[in-house]
Symmetry: C2
Subunit: 153 residues, 2 copies
DNA sequence: GTTTCATGTAACTTATACTGTTACTTGATC
DNA sequence: GATCAAGTAACAGTATAAGTTACATGAAAC
């Protein structure tokens, strides 16, 4: 299965937007993702509709967060993206006549639903501010590592 | 994401094979799945290599189970199919330079791994005999329902 | 008010993986 | 040897994410 990376990409650019503080253009965000500005606009359109971000045209335009990082969960972003499927497996038929297939669907469906609920629940409990805090930790860590490096030179 | 239904299909035919007791041809199994015999052979090839089923050519040939239903778990079947991805989401880059992306990958990766472990663990605990028992329950239930129907006529 | 800049969107192409189909080979049974 | 069924290669179909081009819309700068 080819994996959907829109959630990953979107979280990435949202954190960059927060870090910047000023509007960022689709072109700048596309550079962060090594992709095309149109891909960014297309993906962000759902977030705009969901009220997570705002967009402005013309000079000084671009994308800005509409809420604080603390007020946006991964679940909010996932839903804004159209709530794409989390589980890569599916049934052969959703409404089978065959009793064997009904038994298979029941067993797999229960397992899928449980895993999906686990992921969705976790998404709802993680805020963008949590990711930003982890980024800061990594940033400080890198600074310490580089400082040691500099001393060694 | 288009969902992978090979696990679902394979469990379906394995139960039909167990129910039959005698070898079933790819053509017969394909009829159960409303698909093509070649699709069946292709999918079952992994199970043969894994020692879950045997195949015979010529007259009286076809597919048979190589183990009892109690000795095959959903996990066995999933691995025999090449262990396709369970989670439909992925990272944009597996080894990002960007610290922001590293933080995103860490958060998502942990969530993905947890959900994947939940599903895989569950697959390892469910045996084909469990599905067969559920099928029998459904079969009896339908017989009771149909009996009541007959009385009403 | 015209130019410039940036979003909004449609349309098309590409990439990828499952699925379906045809054609042919291999091997076992009658 | 004829028939049957698996084994397999090769190719077409389908769906979706992703990338690209082109153009319209609207806001700010000059």
């Amino acid at each position: 299965m080819k994996r959907d990376s829109r959630l990953s990409a979107t979280l990435h650019v949202l954190l960059h937007m927060a870090d910047r503080g000023a509007p960022m253009t689709s072109e700048e965000l596309a550079a962060c993702l090594h992709t095309n500005p149109v891909v960014v606009r297309r993906t962000m359109a759902g977030l705009r509709r969901a009220g997570l971000v705002r967009s402005g045209k013309g000079h000084g335009g671009g994308w800005t967060l509409a809420r604080a990082l603390e007020a946006i969960t991964l679940g909010d972003v996932h839903r804004a993206l159209g709530e794409p499927a989390l589980i890569a497996l599916g049934h052969r038929s959703e409404t089978p006549q065959c009793l064997v297939e009904q038994a298979v669907n029941a067993a797999l469906g229960e397992a899928f639903a449980e895993a999906e609920a686990l992921l969705a629940g976790r998404f709802d409990r993680v805020r963008l501010s949590d990711l930003a805090a982890d980024f800061s930790r990594r940033f400080d860590e890198r600074r310490r590592t580089h400082a040691r490096h500099d001393h060694a030179l």
